[in-house]
């Protein structure tokens, strides 16, 4: 199994593209809207060190491995027009992980459409996840939770 995964998706939000871009490029603000975040430290406006706890589910046979802690540095690496790129480098269950996330925001009739595309290298963590967990369901759940968190924050 390749240790690199690709996922993409889109969602709409009743906010102008400028507001959405303004929100997702304000990393110190946006990071607080991600569920499962335990704590974070702002390194600078475009870089945050964060600790997440991810629930892998009850199919993992050892209780202590069902919720794993991930320490990561999240960095806004590029912002050009309606496209924003983030890189997440971290460590989970002893494995180096890296995620490259690209977000594009386009105007729709009543708000914005947000398209996202992620490439994740999970290294040895994938051995664990791949054995016991439906990866697609896990990624879908994390994405949905994160999107839900963003929308809630943007709606405030």
């Amino acid at each position: 199994m390749s240790s690199e995964l690709h996922y993409n998706g889109s969602f709409t939000i009743n906010k102008a593209p400028g507001d959405v871009i303004g929100f997702i490029t304000d990393l110190p603000r946006a990071i607080t809207c991600i569920p499962n975040i335990i704590n974070h430290e702002v390194i600078d406006k475009e870089k945050v060190r964060a600790r997440f706890r991810v629930d892998l589910g009850n199919e993992v046979p050892i209780a202590e491995l069902r919720r794993i802690t991930t320490d990561a540095v999240v960095e806004l690496i590029r912002w050009s027009g309606n496209e924003v790129k983030y890189r997440v480098d971290g460590r989970a269950a002893g494995s180096a992980i890296s995620i490259l996330l690209t977000i594009r925001v386009n105007a729709t009739g009543s708000g914005s459409q947000v398209d996202w595309d992620a490439t994740a290298s999970l290294g040895r963590l994938l051995q664990l996840v791949g054995r016991f967990v439906n990866i697609d369901s896990l990624v879908r759940k994390i994405s949905e939770d994160t999107i839900h968190g963003f929308i809630e924050c943007l709606s405030k």
């Binding site: 706890r53 629930d55 009850n58 199919e59 993992v60 046979p61 050892i62 209780a63 202590e64 491995l65 069902r66 919720r67 794993i68 802690t69 320490d71 460590r91 269950a93 002893g94 494995s95 040895r124 963590l125 051995q127 664990l128 054995r131 016991f132």
Partner: protein, 430 residues
């Protein structure tokens, strides 16, 4: 010499299986590749679980832990410190978990008491003064190596032979049965054969390797749990984080030190572990949320144990989510393996393994380990053919300043003696 049962692995599962089967009158040999408790069991965190940790996520394991917690304290009082334990809510998320946690405690019938946070801080002055809720449970501390050696000596007293430095490197199979284990005798450096009617694979993270010798393809992934040892004992009780089981949520007062556990790190080889600075910092950071003084406490050392995550034929996903699973293989039919298990439930695993072996051998005697007081409460008595020199050293601790601290030394000395005797009895040179 042919044995009824050869047990591979001298961890908590192996020693209690040996004791259980010996108490049923069977002829048993325990083969340990290193020393008793030298693997995962001797590198646990010291917590004799009350079961509280698992009431929400693994209710069956919680009930088993709750029962075994009482049994171990009863049969081995000399190795158990009845400290009690606190579950503490530090964050709002922890507090949100409290209701579900209490419901789980009730369902599992685990005694608990809600403690006023001010009283808790008075009782445990190093506890985070901002703690939001505290629940007391009957957690205890168990001195791992003492328990393992006590059980191994008890097994020997009941007739089992205990051989250390005996690594099983192969299994001879005839038809659909194992006839003998091929054993590398680490003491002499040569190869021996051990014949038995049934073989028990209690090799923990190495269980996959043993099963592989029997032609069983096992998908095994070792995961490392790191423990950090701090110089001083910072709490009277075990301090647990009130949240679903995760990494970095248990602080155990073990003798005069504190042990913080644990992490979950995927490793390639159970014999080759590296503890990173990140692991130590992570545990200190998580622990200091419950006990802030931990952040200032010198780290003496860190150690790691390996837990196996195993996919084995015959084990369904649902069964694998239990605490442990006893597998009677179809082929070879005289091999029984145990997968998983906690230190706290090691006696129960031994009972279940012994039940399976007894069934195979047509033995109807029931397990007695629940009521069998282990050797060690008074180490100078009850050991057959203990030589005079050993007796005099063991007795020399009595009435001295080191009587309590001398227990591990006495037990180790007696273990050395019984291993020596076991080698003679099996016909291996000493």
């Amino acid at each position: 010499m042919e044995f009824d049962v050869a047990i591979i692995g001298g961890g908590v599962n192996g020693v209690f299986t040996a004791l259980d089967l010996a108490l049923r009158g069977l002829k048993v040999v325990l083969l340990e590749k290193g020393v008793i408790g030298g693997g995962t069991s001797g590198k646990m965190h010291g917590l004799l679980h009350s079961g509280a940790r698992y009431v929400v996520t693994d209710p069956k394991a919680a009930v088993e832990c709750a029962e075994e917690n009482k049994i171990i304290a009863r049969i081995a009082p000399h190795v158990v410190d009845d400290t009690g334990g606190y579950f503490v809510a530090v964050t709002k998320d922890d507090l949100d978990f409290q209701e579900e946690f209490i419901s789980g405690l009730r369902r599992a019938n685990i005694d608990y008491k809600i403690i006023d946070t001010r009283d808790a801080v008075r009782e445990e002055p190093n506890l985070n003064p901002e703690v939001k809720a505290v629940i007391e449970v009957p957690d205890k501390v168990v001195y791992a190596r003492e328990l393992l050696i006590s059980a191994a000596i008890s097994a020997y007293i009941e007739g089992a032979l205990v051989i250390q430095n005996a690594e099983v490197v192969g299994l001879n199979i005839n038809g659909d049965e194992i006839t003998s284990a091929v054993v590398r005798d680490g003491a002499k450096g040569d190869i021996k054969r051990v014949n038995a009617k049934v073989f028990v694979n209690a090799a923990g993270p190495w269980a996959g390797r043993v099963a592989g010798m029997a032609g069983i393809n096992v998908d095994i992934m070792p995961t490392m749990g790191v423990m950090v040892v701090y110089r001083h004992r910072l709490a009277r009780r075990v301090i647990n984080r009130m949240r679903p089981p995760s990494d970095g949520d248990i602080l155990v007062p073990y003798g005069h030190v504190s042990i913080m556990g644990t992490t979950a790190v995927i490793v390639d080889d159970p014999d080759n572990l590296t503890i990173s600075k990140d692991d130590i910092e992570f545990l200190t950071s998580e622990g200091s949320q419950m006990v802030p003084a931990l952040a200032r406490e010198p780290v003496i050392r860190a150690y790691a144990s390996v837990r196996p995550l195993i996919n084995m034929p015959g084990v369904t996903g649902r069964e694998a989510t239990r605490d442990f699973m006893v597998v009677r293989h179809e082929r070879p039919k005289n091999l029984v393996s145990v997968i998983g298990g906690k230190f706290t439930t090691g006696r129960l695993v031994g009972e279940r393994l012994a039940d399976e072996v007894s069934k195979f051998l047509g033995v109807s005697k029931a397990s007695r380990t629940k009521e069998h007081t282990l050797f060690g409460a008074n180490p100078s008595s009850d050991i057959k053919d203990l030589d005079q020199e050993t007796i005099s050293i063991v007795k020399s601790f009595e009435g001295t300043i080191d009587e309590e601290r001398g227990l591990i030394a006495s037990l180790t000395l007696i273990l050395h003696h019984i291993v020596h005797r076991s080698r003679s009895l099996i016909g291996w040179s000493t």
